[in-house]
């Protein structure tokens, strides 16, 4: 069964970035996939730092590889994930949602072994947004073992988001 997977690489933000917002770069991480999609098994993406650490010990964030994959449903994605999943429900023209794009990049990079980050465009997948009763955007839901275990709305800084995720994951244990 032919499967199309397109990969995109995103340069991670410098971890030394302060929380000042003056110049942040926003990006919607988008990749093209024009061929037919078929359900496929989730392929684990390993992010390694091999060869990317500078000798001086300065922290160089590895490139985060994002893959375009197709699932028959969000449930499918959730059940295939071996880690807790942070789902970001967003819309293209929602300012705070775009603000969160580099923040999520940072968080995904820092917590790469603890959580998988997933973004859902609520305009493209309104039924999923309806199912989870999404109202304000962005809404974040943390799924553990396929079930929502925490939910919150609004933009927040990377350290606050990391704190929130770690608290949620701790409680569940």
């Amino acid at each position: 069964m032919a499967v199309s997977v397109s990969a995109s690489t995103i340069a991670s933000l410098n971890s030394g970035l302060s929380n000042r917002l003056a110049t942040s770069s926003y990006s919607s991480n988008l990749s093209s996939s024009s061929s037919l999609q078929f359900p496929l098994q989730l392929r684990r993406v390993r992010i390694g730092t091999a060869g990317l650490c500078s000798p001086s010990g300065a922290r160089v964030l590895p490139l985060v590889k994002a893959k375009n994959q197709t699932f028959s449903s969000l449930d499918d994605l959730l059940s295939n994930s071996d880690k807790p999943v942070l789902v970001d429900f967003y819309a293209t023209w929602c300012g705070p949602c775009q603000f969160m794009a580099p923040v999520l990049n940072e968080v995904a990079s820092q917590l790469k072994d603890k959580i998988q980050v997933v973004k859902i465009d609520t305009e493209k997948y309104p039924s999923i947004a309806d199912k989870y009763r999404i109202e304000a955007l962005p809404t974040f839901i943390i799924f553990k073992d396929g079930e929502p275990c925490d939910r919150f709305e609004g933009a927040l800084a990377a350290d606050q988001l990391i704190q929130r995720i770690e608290n949620s994951l701790k409680v569940k244990q």
Binding site: S28, Q37, L104, V117, L137
Partner: protein, 147 residues
């Protein structure tokens, strides 16, 4: 229904488009959308935003990129629905909501309590509030330039 998601150990996206290296666009706010709002609507919503910020004593976000995206979102809804429905919400029926009016900008929560979760109009005490109540069309264009 197939769900197209971009999965990784970082995050995924539900809409297809082309990628670009971000290395050289460190300070650029990039939004890639399939349809852009009309220039006329953007200008209308830009003027409205400046006026309303002044009138309500609120300020734009320190990061004008947020302001720009929201203004474009309002313009997009004005084009498609005839009214500037709040772009930072998910709706069952956008046309019905636009007709009803609660979430048309300036929405009721903003008018009554100066609550703007879009981060368009921020009260001075808000952490994200800047000092400006103006934004130029150039700023909007630059902040949302497609690569």
């Amino acid at each position: 229904m197939t769900l197209q998601a971009q999965a990784s150990s970082s995050f995924t996206i539900g809409i297809p488009s082309f990628t670009s290296p971000l290395g050289r666009s460190r300070h650029r706010f990039v939004v890639r959308a399939q349809v852009e709002p009309s220039e006329k609507a953007v200008e209308i919503m830009r003027k409205f935003s400046e006026q309303y910020a002044r009138k309500s004593g609120t300020y734009f976000c320190v990061d004008k990129g947020v302001t720009s995206v929201v203004i474009k979102g309002l313009a997009d809804h004005k084009d498609s629905l005839g009214a500037p429905l709040c772009p930072c919400r998910h709706y069952d029926d956008k046309a019905a909501e636009a007709g009803q009016g609660f979430w048309n900008c300036p929405c009721v929560p903003m008018r009554e309590r100066k609550e703007c979760h879009c981060m368009l109009f921020l009260t001075p005490d808000n952490d994200f509030a800047g000092k400006e109540q103006v934004i130029s069309l150039d700023e909007i264009r630059e902040a949302t330039a497609n690569m």
